[in-house]
């Protein structure tokens, strides 16, 4: 339904690599031009850039020992002051520093889990769309079955079964959230494969791998990109949820972990809003930014949806 642009010339795709690359660049430029017109998407992108910057420069800005408990500079649970803009946590650590430092884990888990989820989804979707017959039937049956599994319940169960670590959280999120991507990618794959040039490529002796990697994959990539962006948003939320429910590694500092700490320290009923509010806002803003970007990408690819404008 979208982005036939890169391969419109059909058999010409088998021509010189340079030509193909040029065409891809052109379509990227076209994509950007259209993306630019989505104000919400731009806002999201700027937000993401800021958060990425904060996360990447955290070792320089707040330093690696911001999470040290023995070297905590303040008293436990201090309210915001000139010295600690957001107050201190239960150990007396600077909450602003922790918030900055926590962005690294939250974003990392979000990215990795989304990558894992989309990778599984794309693999399943492309192969199920490419190989028809029993293989596809079984695969889509499994997909449908995962789709009906209560994701949160399954993720909690997985996180309980496996040892508590970041890897477990990534796995629990990734393994439970891929089916939507698989279904979307499969539909797109079917659409792509029904085009005549695929027939031609097959006739010219292109094997399964060739068809899937050279023709199908580049065509589903935009969809995958949109899906990844949206998936990061839900992965960041999922990470916070699992950390909040206490099935994550308690010594790793993330936004969800901060919220869990805050709750365990009794911040809610003590009125220590400064411990509770910033991590939640950070989670919401990042999730929102990714959602905005994802929707903008989606509507560039499929203008009929008319979202985001």
């Amino acid at each position: 339904m979208t982005t036939g642009t890169t391969t419109k010339t059909g058999a010409g795709a088998a021509g010189p690599r340079a030509l193909a690359r040029q065409r891809r660049r052109q379509s990227a430029v076209r994509f950007w031009k259209r993306y630019r017109t989505h104000r919400a998407g731009l806002v999201g992108l700027v937000g993401l850039a800021l958060f990425a910057l904060v996360a990447l420069t955290a070792p320089l800005t707040v330093g690696t020992d911001v999470s040290s408990v023995t070297g905590a500079p303040g008293r436990p649970m201090e309210s915001p002051s000139a010295e600690f803009w957001l107050g201190t946590d239960r150990f007396g650590r600077d909450l602003l520093g922790l918030l900055v430092w926590g962005s690294r884990v939250s974003l990392l888990v979000g990215l990795l889990a989304a990558a894992l989820s989309v990778a599984i989804g794309t693999t399943v979707g492309v192969t199920a769309g490419h190989f028809k017959g029993a293989y596809a039937t079984v695969l889509m049956r499994i997909t449908d079955w995962f789709l009906v599994m209560p994701t949160l319940v399954l993720a909690i169960a997985l996180a309980t079964v496996l040892p508590r670590s970041l890897g477990t959280v990534v796995l629990a999120i990734g393994v439970t959230s891929w089916p939507t991507t698989a279904r979307l990618v499969r539909a797109q794959t079917l659409a792509v494969e029904s085009r005549p040039y695929i027939e031609r490529a097959k006739a010219l002796g292109g094997g399964h791998w060739h068809v899937m990697s050279r023709h199908v994959l580049p065509n589903v990539m935009p969809l995958v990109l949109a899906q990844t962006t949206l998936m990061i948003s839900s992965s960041v939320l999922a990470e916070a949820t699992l950390a909040f429910l206490g099935v994550s590694d308690p010594t790793v500092l993330s936004w969800g972990g901060l919220l869990q700490d805050a709750r365990e320290a009794g911040a809610v009923s003590s009125g220590n809003w400064w411990y509770l509010v910033p991590p939640g806002i950070a989670i919401a803003v990042v999730a929102l930014a990714f959602t905005l970007c994802g929707r903008a990408v989606e509507s560039v690819l499929n203008p009929r949806l008319g979202v985001g404008r």
């Binding site: 040290s68 408990v69 023995t70 905590a72 436990p76 649970m77 239960r90 150990f91 007396g92 309980t160 040892p163 508590r164 206490g246 099935v247 590694d249 308690p250 010594t251 700490d261 709750r263 365990e264 320290a265 009794g266 911040a267 809610v268 009923s269 003590s270 009125g271 220590n272």
Partner: protein, 606 residues
């Protein structure tokens, strides 16, 4: 079907829902005083009931409720916790220490009017001795019983296999035989279907809804005197913050905390009008237990505790790098007492603390020297190597549900990191399995100590080890020490209190020196109640002690209602007014919005 109709119906539904929300917001039910003027004491608890059958219940909440429902043979004095008469008015042991005779209080009645007799007590114990299902919760109390008989309605005789110093501390609810003998399968009967439940304690159980509340009514005929409150409700709050907020609002009269309020909660409640924070010495010790190499009674070793921990110097070094002051100051924020011996100072009879030369005080430099001496030296990276040449990393078992475990774990990571020793925190919801399997190096450990310390002492004897690796022993963490065991046997057979206390102190000294159980703190019982609901309440010990989870029923039985309950009512009616006003405003705004939208649509588009 016309779409217009559908549409307006949807709108009506929305309006109705909004109205329902508004109305319900306004009508905040009153607490403290029920409609019929009964004085109600509502307690916020964080635990749910596992079973209301005294034969099955193991959780603190359930056993506390049983204290209120059923009278036990003896009770503990609120002052110094010595045994005082309850169902039994007096007791004596035979010269050979093997026969105990209890005189059962005459003239008391079950709540259904039947007489309470020695036969009820005998039947309760006999049931536990013969029916495995009935032995689930309290089977350990009758393990050493040879025979229980009731020669007369006022006389109960228990014959023992071996002498047992704890015969005045049998924490077993005595149930009415005439009710319970009809029960078929004790392992499945939960005692939660027929209300009111027949009992003879200060309160009668009248209603229970799982994960919501347990309701008890005062037993006006209770032999010690009727409770001052008419009703006692334990209300379940999964979330401690919600419970504290409920206390602030007066929805509940008392918050127990699980196991106590956090420092932040206590501090914020202290400033509050009409709320008293009871910050009293607790009955728990909070320790760092070391895996001494798990083994069974048959000598078989199992588990995979780190071999370096078998060296006493290493254990001492680890504890000397633990700054108990920081733990008290930062983690408990003053709501705990620095750890010394095994039994908390609250039990003054048995409390012991190490002499100056014996104490393992905080001294990281000395810790480093001890490790060097033991042959665990640092490599080029500053990591200490085990005898296998690999850097030492200890697995520390922690309870995922206990914030203190996680917090102190992070300190340990940094303190021991300085020593060159790695720490991996294994925080689990359920630590039982690695614990029993001995697959840990160190573990956060804690027990509530009873007035009679026998139990917490017994769990470190060789006899408590599992018979084979396949069994489960009563052992806490596989400690087995000859000298400790000798002392334990002597104190159990010692019926003279002073001599027994001295033996118990010697045991603690021995335990301290082995370095297997390092007590870091005695956490306070931090709880809070509303002074405008509760005028007075007995703590245990009376001078400074806890209210929730006492060894007797003193707190709830003694609680007296405050005279005026108006303050709660005032805020309630203010709530009604404001709620109604807010809801009304929302409704008007919504109505105006829809009306305007409709008109606008009509005008624009026509």
């Amino acid at each position: 079907m016309s779409t217009r109709e559908q549409h307006s119906r949807a709108r009506r539904l929305l309006a109705a829902a909004a109205a329902a929300l508004t109305v319900s917001a306004g009508l905040a039910p009153h607490q403290a005083v029920a409609a019929d003027g009964d004085k109600v004491l509502t307690v916020a608890v964080a635990q749910s009931v596992d079973s209301l059958s005294p034969f099955l219940a193991q959780r603190l909440l359930s056993t506390s409720i049983h204290r209120l429902m059923y009278e036990y043979l003896t009770n503990y004095d609120p002052g110094d916790a010595h045994a005082v008469p309850a169902l039994a008015t007096e007791w004596k042991s035979s010269p050979d220490k093997l026969t105990w005779t209890y005189t059962i209080r005459s003239g008391t009645k079950w709540s259904d009017g039947q007489r309470v007799t020695a036969e009820d007590a005998a039947w309760t114990f006999q049931k536990m001795m013969t029916d495995e299902g009935a032995a689930t919760a309290n089977g350990s109390f009758v393990g050493n019983f040879r025979e229980v008989t009731a020669p007369s309605p006022t006389e109960l005789v228990i014959r023992l296999k071996k002498p047992q110093a704890t015969m005045t501390a049998l924490d077993v609810p005595i149930v009415p035989k005439h009710v319970w003998e009809k029960v078929g399968d004790f392992s499945e009967f939960n005692n939660d279907k027929d209300f009111p439940v027949v009992g003879n304690g200060p309160f009668i159980l009248t209603d229970y809804k799982p994960d919501s509340y347990v309701r008890l009514e005062a037993n006006k005929d209770f032999w010690r005197g009727a409770p001052k409150f008419d009703e006692l409700v334990f209300r379940y709050y999964k979330d401690q913050d919600a419970a504290v907020a409920a206390l602030r609002k007066g929805e509940v009269s008392f918050v127990a905390g699980s196991p106590s309020l956090t420092p932040a909660q206590a501090d914020s409640l202290k400033g509050e009008k009409n709320i008293h924070v009871n910050d009293a010495p607790g009955r728990r010790f909070y320790a760092l237990a070391t895996n001494p190499g798990a083994r069974a009674r048959n000598g078989e070793k199992f588990g995979d505790g780190h071999p370096s921990l078998l060296d006493e110097r290493v254990r001492h070094a680890l504890f000397r790098a633990v700054d108990r002051e920081t733990i008290i100051d930062r983690v408990f924020q003053g709501h705990a007492v620095r750890g010394e011996g095994y039994i908390p100072p609250r039990f003054s009879t048995y409390f012991w603390k190490p002499a100056a030369g014996q104490e393992l005080s905080y001294d990281p430099a000395e810790a480093g020297r001890l490790l060097d001496q033991a042959g665990y030296r640092k490599n080029g990276d500053g990591k200490r190597l085990g005898k296998d040449g690999k850097p030492i990393t200890y697995r520390v078992l922690c309870h995922a549900t206990d914030p203190n475990d996680k917090a102190i774990g992070q300190y340990l990571q940094e303190w021991w990191g300085e020593l060159g020793i790695g720490v991996r925190l294994d925080c689990l919801d359920n630590v039982t399995d690695p614990w029993l399997a001995g697959t840990y190096d160190l573990a956060f450990d804690g027990w509530s100590v009873n007035p009679d310390p026998d139990f917490v002492l017994s769990i470190h004897t060789c006899a408590a080890l599992p018979a084979t690796p396949k069994d489960t022993g009563a052992t806490d963490n596989f400690i087995c020490d000859k000298r400790y065991d000798e002392l334990y046997a002597r104190q159990l057979a010692e019926y003279d209190p002073a001599k027994r206390a001295d033996l118990v102190k010697q045991m603690q000294s021995r335990l301290y020196d082995t370095g297997y159980m390092n007590v870091m703190a005695y956490p306070n019982a931090v709880e809070a109640y509303r002074t405008d609901h509760i005028a007075s309440i007995t703590t245990m010990p009376e001078k400074a002690g806890n209210i929730y989870g006492q060894d007797g029923y003193w707190s709830w039985w003694s609680a007296t209602p405050a005279d005026s309950d108006d303050s709660a009512g005032d805020s309630g009616s203010a709530g009604v007014v404001i709620g109604l006003a807010a809801g009304g405003a929302v409704l008007v705004a919504a109505g105006a919005f829809f009306a305007l939208r409709r008109r606008a649509t009509a005008e624009d588009r026509e």
